[in-house]
Each structure stands twice: as C-alpha cells, then as structure tokens.
C-alpha cells in the first residue's frame, strides 16, 4: 500500500478538534473537572490519613498518579464510547474511508486525538496540583509530558481494540470494569503497590499503568530516572501501543471491508 501519511491522520485529528470546539463546555466539564474532583478527594481525604507513600509526601505522590490516571481514562473513553459512536451511529469512519484516508491513518488520527485530549486533562491536573504544591520538580514534570502522551496513545490503542470487537455500547462496561478500573485501583495511582500482597503487586506489573507511574512519578518528584529501568518501562509502554494498534486495525479492517 502507500504507507501512513501523518497529514492524513492530521486531517482526522482536525475533524475531532472542530467537533470538540463546538461541544467545548461539556468536554471540559468531564475532562477537566473529573480528574480535579478526584485529586481534591484524594489529597484532602486520603492525604489526611496517608502521610507518606514510598517516602514521598502524599500530595507529591498523588498528583502524578492523577495525571497518569486521567490520561488513561480520557484516552480510552475517547477511543471506546466516542469512537464507537462515530463508527456505528454517525458512520463517520465510512465517510472518511471514501476519501484518500486509509484505515491506518484514520485509526492513528483517532489515537492522536485521544492522546491530545488526554494531555489537556493531564496538564490541568499538573497545573492545579503543581500550584497546590504537589510538583517538586517542574522540569521533571515537563519531561514527563511526552511520556504521558506516548502512554496515552497506548491507552487509546487498547480502547480501539475493544471497539474493534464491540457489538454495542454495553460491551464497553467489560473494558472499564476489567481493564481501566484495575489500572486505577491496583496500579499505584493513589497508593503504593507495596501495600498489596506480593502476588497481586507482581500481577499489577503486567498492566501498563505501573510502568507509566514508574517513569512519571520519579520525574515530577525530582528523584530522577535510572536509565536501564526507564528503558524497560518505556519498552513495555511501546508494546502496549504497537500490539493493540495492529490488532485493532486488523480486526476493524475485517469487520468493515469483508
């Protein structure tokens, strides 16, 4: 075929952006207020009883956690519920594929858009959490942003894979119950993994979220990264993008074109 053109994926991104701009208030309400509500709840509520995690002040622990959580939630919501609506209800994908845009470009555009929205939410958490005093290293936080973006591409791809198999909107409840929720509650977002029995903690490392936190948290706290371990976590996150993206593309191709 003809390779993947970023300009074509960019045209898909732009379409999402224009729609988003029309519906900006409801988008902002969910994607900005939602993570901030969680942040306040954890920081005030849990912060009072959980003084330190892994030797880090609780606020400095939970702010990067919420940045990672919101990246995951926003990106995967966008490529599940929202993308499925575009695919099956609005038939936007059909319309797009009747042009010069290929399926890979369409799905890449979807993932890039989902990751962009995720970044917006993560930035809001960073800003509010940082002003509150939860970001000891601003330089580290800036360095963490591209990592969050890359991980969000992965979360988007995982959502696309679910969409590729979904028959209806209720199917996504499995995805949120058995994929995103464990990454919220069992992956070190708002308390440390070492509170779990060893086997559960080990199982959590099969998910992408602990790897993302292992990169982001040392950066925002200023502890710094150990290169070899960081490369390992980065590789896991990369595979969590490449594999689901390829699988989703193959499955959607069969579903739409056969």
């Amino acid at each position: 075929m003809h390779g993947v053109a970023l300009t074509a994926a960019g045209a898909v991104w732009r379409r999402q952006y224009l729609v988003w701009r029309k519906l900006i208030w409801s988008s902002l309400a969910t994607n900005v207020c939602n993570p901030l509500l969680f942040l306040f709840a954890f920081a005030f509520g849990l912060g009072a009883v959980m003084a330190e995690q892994e030797g880090i002040a609780y606020l400095a622990f939970v702010v990067p956690g919420m940045m990672a959580y919101t990246s995951m939630f926003v990106a995967s919501f966008e490529t599940t519920v929202s993308a499925f609506a575009r695919y099956s209800l609005q038939r936007t994908w059909d319309a797009t594929l009747a042009t010069s845009v290929t399926l890979e470009e369409l799905l890449l555009g979807e993932a890039l858009w989902a990751a962009s929205k995720a970044m917006l939410s993560a930035l809001c958490v960073l800003l509010v959490g940082g002003l509150w005093g939860g970001i000891p290293s601003w330089a580290g936080a800036v360095a963490a942003l591209p990592i969050l973006f890359g991980a969000a591409l992965g979360f988007a791809a995982q959502g696309l894979l679910c969409t590729a198999f979904a028959r209806g909107f209720d199917n996504f409840s499995y995805f949120f119950t058995f994929w995103t929720t464990p990454m919220f509650v069992f992956s070190g977002v708002f308390f440390s993994l070492d509170r779990f029995p060893e086997s559960l903690a080990a199982a959590a490392w099969l998910l992408p979220m602990p790897h993302l936190l292992a990169l982001v948290r040392p950066l925002t706290t200023g502890a710094g990264l150990e290169p070899l371990a960081a490369a390992g976590h980065g590789l896991v996150l990369l595979l969590y993008f490449v594999i689901p993206f390829a699988a989703a593309t193959a499955r959607i191709r069969r579903r739409m074109f056969d």
Binding site: M1, H2, A5, T7, A8, A11, V12, R14, R15, L18, V19, K22, L23, Q90, R91, T92, D94, A95, T96, L97, A98, T99, S100, V101, M256, F257, D258
Partner: protein, 299 residues
Amino acid sequence: MAAPVILARALEKRFGEVRAVAGLDLTVPAGICLGLLGPNGAGKTTTLRMIMGLTLPSGGRLEVLGRPPTALSRTERRRIGLVPQDSNLDPDLSVVQNLLVYGGYFGLPAAALRRRVPELLAFMQLTEKAGARVSQLSGGMKRRLVIARALIAEPELVILDEPTTGLDPQARLLIWRQLLQLRAQGKTLLLTTHYMDEAQRLCDRIVLIDGGRILAQGSPAELIARHVHGHVVEVTKPVPPALTGNGLAHEDVGDAMLFYVAAPGAVIDRLPPEAVYLHRPANLEDVFLRLTGRKLREG
C-alpha cells in the same frame, strides 16, 4: 477506444451465505451516466462499495481508473467522489466545515478549498446555509450537501447511491439539473435510483440487476423497445381468450392483463366494444416490473 473508468468481470461478493453480487460484468466508459437499477437487496450498494474500495470483492476482477480500488494512490482517490446511500455528514459541524474537513481528507491545500467551497455551495444552492449546523438542515439540504461534498476534489467519476430518495420534486429537479451539468462537463456518473423517471431522464445506459446478476442492459429506449415493445394496453378482466392466445406479450396483474405491443391497435382493435382498457406509452418502470417481477422484496 479509451480504457473504461470502471471494469468488472465476474465480480462477486458473499456475506456468509448471501451472494449479494453474483458474477457481475460491468463496463463504464468515460463520460457517460450509467444507472444501476434493481429492487431492494439487488446488490447495488454492495457493488458501489466495492468500486469505492469500502468492501472487498469475494471474487472476480474489478478495476477502477485502471487499477483495483485498493491499489489506488492517495491522489488517484481524489478522482472519485461518493454520495453514499445514507448521508453520513458530521451533524455537529457546519455546512462549510463539513466541506473543509472532507477536503482535508483528500489532502487538498487550504487555498484550493477557499476557492472551491463557495463554488460548491453556489452549485448546490446552499450558500445561505453556509454557517448552519448540519443537524439543522432539511433532508433535501443534507442530500445536496452530500453531493457537494463528493465534488470537493473535482472528481472525474462520481458515484451516487440513491441521490434523490426522499426528496420533494423541487429538490430532485435541482439535483437532476446539476447532475446533467456534471455530465455535460464530461464527468462519468454511476448512479442508483428507485425512480424510473429519474433513470430515464439522466442515464445514457441502464444496467438492471437482481439477485446480484444482470437481467438486462442498454439505453432506456432500447430497453423499452426490447422488453415492453413501446406500448402498454391494460385490459380489465375479463379478457377475450383470443387475445392471450395469439402470441402477444402479456402479463397477468390480478384484476387486469397488461399487453406489451409495438402498435396499440394489435390489442385495441380486437377488444369487444364493452371492454375497459387503458393505453399508454411504455416506460422504464414497465421494463423494471416486467423483468424483476411484481412481488415485494422482503428485507
């Protein structure tokens, strides 16, 4: 002769057990308007989707602009525009934004779009609605916008799947006029429709399909002459047995009998004075009904 714009040989599409297209041979030369007609479920949309590369054939050969549709390059895809059966516009975006976004999908530069969009709005009489949201448009306006959208990259082949279904006579008339203008500009049109008057008026050639196969093809006039002989005489029963026994083409439609004849006298002159009958020139609808039967297609 120049290479055909679309060439299909023994084209086939199966959906599980269903053979939606069952060995179709189709040649669409450049510059004509070809009408693909057939009852519900005949395989029209499936054929058009295969031509667009939106559905992969299960068998046979298909070439569009000289290549299999999936092998067309990014720029070659600009030469084909599609008006799908279901208008899949972006409901949240405005009329202009729909066109801009679509132009972006074809990789058209912003300067070209700035020139092209107002032209298209004028062509489809949507200029006043430029800023309106698509969800606020009437059905006819949406349809016109889908046609404008298909034309954004100035394609030489325009594929229209039931472009006027559900529209009022004024809207259909406007669309017909603009489609004829496109044909006059030398574009190739491939369209499906359930309106036989539309097919008769717009199409140089008709391909009538059913069950995924071709039943008949030719110009509207040829089809009428060949299959319904030019005139229809509808005789209310009882019909004199002499008429049905003498080899005239006829069809029993319940309480009447239809005779297809080259000269109406062949029937009328043989009717008793008290007979009730109706005579009219035959049209494409007669061909359609005669060849595809009068039974309703179940979905």
